[in-house]
């Protein structure tokens, strides 16, 4: 059965890039525009890995990570942050909130696949 990923980002371009890359690696990819949408979708969908931006309206990445880790269902979900170099603080916050790993934007597609495989097999 194919693995499922979810990409959370308010930029459609970024979501499309992640989706395109991961589909090429055999993943099914769901998309959400912000943390709140992601949580709503996750209430009825299984995912094997979540890739999230940190700066989003409505609910940002760090808040999303905290919400996920507080839920037993998602406590062991591999979560990757997509960060930029100006995001050092947020990245640290996300890390302590429970993010599994991170990737710097703009990302190299091979690296994304490698990192995704590393955190979710």
């Amino acid at each position: 059965m194919a693995k499922r990923a979810m990409t959370v980002d308010d930029s459609k371009t970024m979501r499309d890039m992640v989706a395109f890359t991961l589909r090429g690696a055999g993943f099914e990819v769901a998309q959400a525009e912000d943390g709140k949408q992601a949580l709503t979708l996750l209430a009825s969908t299984q995912v094997d890995v979540l890739i999230t931006d940190l700066n989003m309206p409505v609910m940002d990445g760090v808040t999303l990570i905290r919400a996920l880790r507080a839920d037993p269902k998602w406590r062991a979900l591999p979560i990757l942050m997509l960060t930029t170099e100006s995001d050092a603080n947020k990245k640290a916050e996300g890390r302590s909130a429970g993010a599994t790993g991170w990737l710097v934007k703009p990302f190299n597609p091979e690296k994304l696949i490698e990192v995704v495989n590393r955190v979710c097999g």
Partner: protein, 693 residues
Amino acid sequence: MSGNVFDHLKSTYFQECSELLDQVYTHLTALDDGDSDPDTVHGIFRGIHSIKGGGGAFGFDRMVAFAHVFETLLDLLRDGKVVLNKDLLGLLLRATDALSDLIAAERTGVPAAAGFETAVRAELDEAASLPSAPTPSAPVRSVAAQPASGQPGLYRIQLQPHETLFKNASEPLLLMRELRRLGPITVVADLARLPGLDALDPESAYIGWTIELTTDASAARIEEIFEFVNDQCDLTITPAGVSAVPELEPEPEEAAPTPVASAVAVATTKPDSPDARRAEQPAAAQTVRVDVEKVDRLVNLVGELVINQAMLVQLGATLPSDMCPGLITGLETLSQHLRELQEGVMAIRTQPVKSVFSRMPRLVRELSSQLGKEAKLFISGEGTEIDKTVIEQLADPLTHLLRNAIDHGIEQPSDRVAQGKPAQGRIHLAAEHRSGRIVIEVSDDGRGIDRARVLARARTRGLVEPDAQPSEEEIDNLIFLPGFSTAETVSNISGRGVGMDVVRRNIQALGGRVTVQARQGAGSRFLLSLPLTLAILDGMIVAVGRESYIVPLTNIVESLRPRRQDINAVVGSGDVVAIRGEYVPLLYLAKHFGVPDAVTDASHGIVVVVENEGTGQVGLVVDELLGQQQVVVKSLEANYGEVEGIGGATILGNGRVALILDIAGLRSASAPGRASRGETRRNSNGHAVAALQ
């Protein structure tokens, strides 16, 4: 860079940039109006941040470098480390303008002038000048010096996770797998820290491992595997020299998954109750993005349905009325549903006019500063929805009108103050629906129209009869005539009399009208009236010989069958018909289009009086009226070309093509004094054809 892989997403990116920039401008305007909501600044930051993020993926280095400096300032702004004031706001506006240009340069492939953004960038740097944030210290780990890579080396890896490792959903098993991809490994577990069952926390990590890995990968590559966990464990990677293959090779699956790890896994990966597979998507999003092509296909299909339905109605009409009564009522119901479907589909194609309006404030800013005027643009009704096809064509005429307002309308600040007006001129751009059409207004509080000068100029140019006494409104609308300009100095912005008549032509090409009302000294008001959509037309089908033509309903004034005595010949011009004391020139469509076997005596046919934008009325002579119908406009140009007097084609209920008349084109084609076409040749249809070159 990954640019090649993602090239197909470039257009998505540029579209997104355009939306993001719109939002940024909206936020900046809000700030200008005194909005103090912190979310506004956050929104601006996120917009620039997203633009930068995407741009990097495509290698738009110049734009990204600029965006980075911009983003840095915005970051400080949102953290409250820099205070917002009027000057800073002006800088943010100019920075957004510059960024927009840099993006456009990437989109069009035409690079921006060298150094054009340097000044703004320097200002941004200055505004953001704070000591740079200290770089976060690198995590401490110990890695001994490694042997040269490329040689198979043996590494000893000690991995002792801290108890909190699982809080980040890190999975040691996966790390082992990845290590094994580099080469054969042996793993020995270290249970020293494992407490008794009563003290065991299933979500804490206790077990450590010693891993021996034989690989020709470099130590750096091995470190990379641990990059996410190395601050949550004690990790040492020690090369142990070139070695033989280790004797034992137990499968990592046997050693690694400890009772603790698998317990955690079971506890957290069991899927939820049946709700986990609910069919319907939660209504999280309120909008759906659809490709334009998909919408256009839908519109075409619905158009075909309309034609099919018309065909069915026609066929149904040939049946005896009692033969299948249900059929007729069924067709009527179908017709109603189709109309609703059509309206629904056309509504999908509409877009708020905002997408065109949003560029205008910047235009006004730039023109004002270029011309030394002060003007502010106020916009209302930007949510008004217009068909996409119309919106795209609005940009040019609107730009012209705004230029005209700033260049000729708004006076110099000193002049304005002398008149008791505020130094800053007001320009208002508004859109609204009015009786089935879109009305767009561009008004200013400038000097209005100098009617005496306009009339004098028109007389000099022979555009008005010497003894004619046009009304005030008629004088105002003289400015739309070609070749008209009262500017004493031809400014290189508005150009020489090119503006207004081009605007009128553009609007007319959309099936619209433009008029002006002015109050001398107090301002001008331009009104554009446009149809809701270009793709569907309400038309009157007329018969000329064996051909059918469509006359757009908006052009029709009236139709009548004239009496013989009302038709008179005017020497050198043609026939006219007298209608309530006025003489309307006649255009015999049969003769104009070379249609054989048609009615030649207007009193035996019908005269359809049409008009187009103040160019006067003309009576089209046709054989008969066949009925009114909504038709789908199909392009003639796609496969054939332009034909003067014809503005497209449609497919009637009988499947045949009917040409749609372009009234403006007919008028100019029929103007007296045009060179005759030479000998009339006819093709196999009996139709007159052009002489071969």
